[in-house]
Every structure is written in structure tokens, then in C-alpha cells.
């Protein structure tokens, strides 16, 4: 896979194309690579499950891994616009939808793990959790907010909503990401290292937006 990636990148370079724009053909290949890479955490989980190698508490492990990657892809998705601004690579925008859908995909698996493996459809316990446990409340909130974004990600729905309304709706992703990081922060027993890293990255990504927003208002 890596050698394939390298080959694609060198094709892009040796075709003397600038990184600003890539041809549709190259973009299609890059998308395939990203698509395959994005499945690797799930592949690893399935392989380990098959090898009976998920440790003493497999359900906890699956919950952690799916939650971690949901947050990871959320942040990667939020990094796309800043990357475009800094590098002027326009093509990265064409990866954003797929990355966002992977965030939803892992978030959905995370939710299913909780629903089926952890609670086994114990609706009473789940309801209690959502009402009484702030970290569950906010995690559930983060997941629910992703649903309309995933649904309205198709070309036809983007057209039907119109660019302006669609962009407004999709600002929900900021809330999802903030809620997701708080969810992680609140559930950790004591060691906050990883939630802090996520929080710093998220703050940076949102800060870049505030910076560009202010810049355009004051036209500095």
C-alpha cells in the first residue's frame, strides 16, 4: 500500500503537475488510498477479534478504539480547510466528505458497541445513562448531531438544500467535535494525556477559523 502511495505521489510530481490542483484521475486514486487507509483501524480490530487477541476486556477495547477513531477522523476533517488555506492545495477539499463520513462511521460503530455489546439493548439502563451521566449525555449529543450531516452529504441533497443553507447546517460539526472531546475528557478516570492532545488540536483548528474570520471582517 505504501509503495502504491509513493508511486501515486511520484506520478503527481513527475507529471509536473502542481500540488495546487490534481487531475481527476489522480484524485480518484488518492481517494481510493485514503478510503483503504481509513478502514485500517477496523481491519485491525476485526483481525484481533478473529485471533482472540483483544485482551481481557474486549468490549472495553472495541469501545475505546471506535471512539478514538471517530474523534480522530472528526479532527482530520476539520483540518482540511486550514490545510487548504495554508498550502493553497485546492484538491484536499475533495477528500473532506469521505473523511467526515468515516468520522460518522466510527462514531456509529462506537454507538452500536455501547448499545449492543456494552448494554445489550437494556433500554432502561441506557436511558438512565443518557439522563444521569454527563459524559454519556454529551457523547450521545455529539453522535446525534452527526446524523443530519451524514444524511445531507450526498450531491443531490447538497443541491436541494442550496450551498448557503448546507454550509450553515454543516457548522454543527464544530459542536460535534467539541462535545466529542468533552465526552472523552469526562470519561477518563485520571490520566488526561490523550483528551488534552485532542483538545489542543481542536482548539488550534477552531482558532485558525476564528483568525481567518476576524481577518476577513477587518480586512487586515
Amino acid at each position: 500500500m505504501l509503495s502504491y502511495m509513493r508511486a501515486q505521489i511520484s506520478i503527481a510530481i513527475f507529471d509536473k503537475m502542481s500540488f495546487k490542483n490534481l487531475s481527476d484521475k489522480v484524485i480518484a486514486r488518492v481517494k481510493i488510498i485514503v478510503f483503504l487507509l481509513a478502514f485500517m483501524p477496523l481491519d485491525k480490530l476485526l483481525l484481533y477479534a478473529y485471533l482472540n487477541n483483544l485482551g481481557a476486556n474486549p468490549i472495553e477495547k472495541i469501545t475505546r478504539v471506535t471512539g478514538y477513531w471517530a474523534l480522530f477522523f472528526l479532527l482530520i476533517t476539520l483540518a482540511i480547510t486550514p490545510i487548504r488555506r495554508l498550502t493553497k492545495w485546492l484538491w484536499v477539499m475533495r477528500l473532506r466528505r469521505m473523511l467526515g463520513l468515516f468520522a460518522f462511521f466510527y462514531g456509529f460503530l462506537h454507538f452500536l458497541t455501547y448499545l449492543i455489546l456494552d448494554q445489550f439493548f437494556d433500554c432502561e439502563a441506557i436511558l438512565k445513562d443518557i439522563i444521569k451521566r454527563p459524559y454519556i449525555t454529551i457523547g450521545f449529543f455529539a453522535f446525534v448531531l452527526m446524523i443530519p450531516l451524514a444524511i445531507t452529504s450526498t450531491d443531490s441533497l447538497i443541491r436541494r438544500l442550496g450551498g448557503k443553507r448546507w454550509r450553515f447546517l454543516h457548522r454543527l460539526v464544530y459542536l460535534t467535535a467539541i462535545a466529542g472531546v468533552i465526552h472523552y475528557w469526562w470519561l477518563v478516570k485520571k490520566d488526561l494525556t490523550e483528551p488534552i492532545i485532542f483538545a489542543v488540536v481542536l482548539t488550534t483548528l477552531l482558532g485558525v477559523r476564528v483568525f481567518y474570520g476576524l481577518k476577513s471582517i477587518y480586512k487586515v
Partner: protein
């Protein structure tokens, strides 16, 4: 110059693998036997620890597999993830080892680990172990009641509490480089809890000396309290008049109280304690009051509402 060419080894010269390993096995046995002959007084050899089965505390539940007991641990001295202790505890030196016993006692004393192992008959006891994180195990521990040790040092009338202090050594315990808890790890019990026959001074599990990641060479197991109340790798036991402050009480005063008895009706500040996942089982099971030891220990908390002990 003369060149030697290596003659290929003919297959008849190769030692068959069964003989090769048989020799290895023999050497191991011989080594163990020699060790046993040199040190006839030790109760352990080749990490094995012999003990008689305690008939009263002999839970019939299925044991949690040895692999899980020794690879899924909360032992922040070696890192905060469950897999860390098994990976990082190899460098812990458990010999020589001694425990200082002092404070409000008539006969303060330093006990060597070998002396501890011979102080009282070793028993195997199968206890439930309930972590505050809502998972649990069933573990065959080896040790003897902590009160055997306490009797030897004769606590004074002022001794109301017992504090346990674990090893503090960044070299051996790399997790202590992080300030996730205040080191050394400290835990405590009320004196009557410490004297209770269920409270086990523990030197082994599954018929062998405690693996490092499980708190070698000596720990205390208090089966009716959450796991963090069972301190590991103890170097000092101190008798005090006032209630000691444990590391977890410092880390989260509203989440971890001094008593921390297993109680399905008192939730953790952030999650429910009503149920637990027994390691190896799919469905959660209901958590028992005082982890199923209510009959034995309820009298310690008689006269007051058990729910008032946090």
C-alpha cells in the same frame, strides 16, 4: 594460505529436538532441586508457592483465567493503561524486600519478605475482586490474614487506623515519572477493618509468587472494597490515630472516599456501580453489597446506615 571448508553437519549428528528439550527440562529441574536443597527453609521455589486451600473462603465461581489476571491491571506505577503493568513491571526487584511496621505500636519492626512468608501458614483463598471501574474478577490469592502481622507488633490504644505505603522508586516504577497520582501510593483502613479475618496479606496467586504486575512481592487484598483499596508492593505499614489520606482521595476527593466499600446503591460520581462486567463474561452481572461479603463484614458498619460510609 589454507582454506577450511565447513563440512556439512550430517543429519545423524543433529540432536533430536525431544532430547534437546529433555536436557533443558532436566537442567531446569536439577537447578530447582539444587536451589531447594540449598535453601530448605523457603516455601517457594521456581516461583511456586505452596498453600493449603481455605475451606471457608473458597468461592465456587469460575476463576478468571491466569492470563487475564496477569495482563489486565491497574497499577499506575507502571503506566495508566491496563496492558502497561505486564509490560513495564519486569524491572521491579522484589528481593531483597522488607516492610517497615511502625507508628502507634509497642513493638515496631522491619520484616524481611522471607520472614513474612513463614510467619503464618499460607492459605489459598478464592475471592471476588471488584474494580471501581465496574469490572470484576475471581482470583485465587495466597497469603494469610493481615491480623497475624498486626498482633506481632502490638498496636497501642491510639492506633485507630492503618496506613499502607507502596514502593516509591522512579527507576523501577517508570509510571511514577508522571504525576497522575501523588507518589508513593498510599492507602488506609480502619484498624478493625485491617484486623478482619478477610483482610489478606497476600504474597501469591494461582499457586505462585505474586507476578510483579499484581503487586509483588507483598500486597493487601480487601475483598469487600473497590480494588484500589488493595495496595500493592508495600514497603511500610504505619499505625495512626487520625484517618490517613489516600492517594486516590487526594486525586478525586468527591469520587474516591476513605471507605469505598463495594455498594451497588452508591454510584461513582460519573458512572453507575449497580452492575459490573465479570472479565470473560458477556452479560453484566449485578454488583453485590460489600461485594458479596456482607454477612462477614456488615458488623463493622453496624449501627449506622451502610450507605453513609463513602
Amino acid at each position: 594460505m589454507k582454506y577450511y571448508k565447513n563440512k556439512p553437519i550430517s543429519s545423524s549428528e543433529i540432536t533430536p529436538s525431544y532430547l534437546f528439550y529433555a536436557r533443558r527440562k532436566f537442567m531446569q529441574l536439577a537447578g530447582g532441586a539444587t536451589l531447594a536443597a540449598i535453601m530448605p527453609s523457603t516455601v517457594w521455589a521456581n516461583d511456586k508457592l505452596s498453600a493449603s486451600q481455605n475451606v471457608t473462603y473458597n468461592l465456587k465461581d469460575e476463576l478468571t483465567p491466569y492470563k487475564d489476571v496477569t495482563s489486565y491491571n491497574n497499577f499506575y506505577e507502571f503506566g495508566t493503561s491496563k496492558e502497561d503493568p505486564a509490560k513495564n513491571a519486569k524491572g521491579l526487584k522484589t528481593r531483597p524486600w522488607s516492610i517497615v511496621v511502625d507508628g502507634e505500636v509497642k513493638k515496631p519492626k522491619t520484616f524481611d519478605i522471607e520472614e513474612l512468608l513463614k510467619m503464618a501458614p499460607l492459605e489459598e483463598r478464592i475471592y471476588r475482586f471488584r474494580c471501581v471501574e465496574a469490572w470484576s474478577m475471581v482470583i485465587p490469592w495466597i497469603g494469610f490474614p493481615l491480623n497475624e502481622l498486626i498482633k506481632q507488633v502490638e498496636p497501642t490504644g491510639n492506633a485507630k487506623f492503618v496506613e499502607f505505603i507502596s514502593l516509591h522508586d522512579q527507576e523501577q516504577m517508570p509510571g511514577q515519572k508522571s504525576s497522575v497520582l501523588e507518589w508513593p501510593y498510599r492507602e488506609g483502613l480502619r484498624i478493625d477493618e485491617a484486623m478482619h479475618p478477610l483482610t489478606l496479606l497476600t504474597m501469591g496467586l494461582y499457586g505462585e509468587l505474586l507476578p510483579n504486575q499484581n503487586g509483588a512481592p507483598v500486597r493487601v487484598v480487601v475483598p469487600w472494597k473497590y480494588g484500589f483499596k488493595s495496595p500493592k508492593s508495600i514497603v511500610r505499614i504505619r499505625f495512626t490515630e487520625s484517618q490517613p489520606v489516600s492517594s486516590w482521595m487526594q486525586a478525586g476527593p468527591n469520587e474516591y472516599g476513605f471507605y469505598s466499600n463495594v455498594n451497588p446503591d452508591i454510584d461513582h460520581a460519573r458512572w453507575s456501580q449497580a452492575k459490573e462486567r465479570r472479565i470473560g463474561e458477556f452479560f453484566k452481572r449485578k454488583t453485590l453489597l460489600l461485594n458479596g461479603y456482607a454477612e462477614e463484614v456488615a458488623q463493622l458498619y453496624a449501627g449506622t446506615d451502610i450507605n453513609s460510609y463513602f
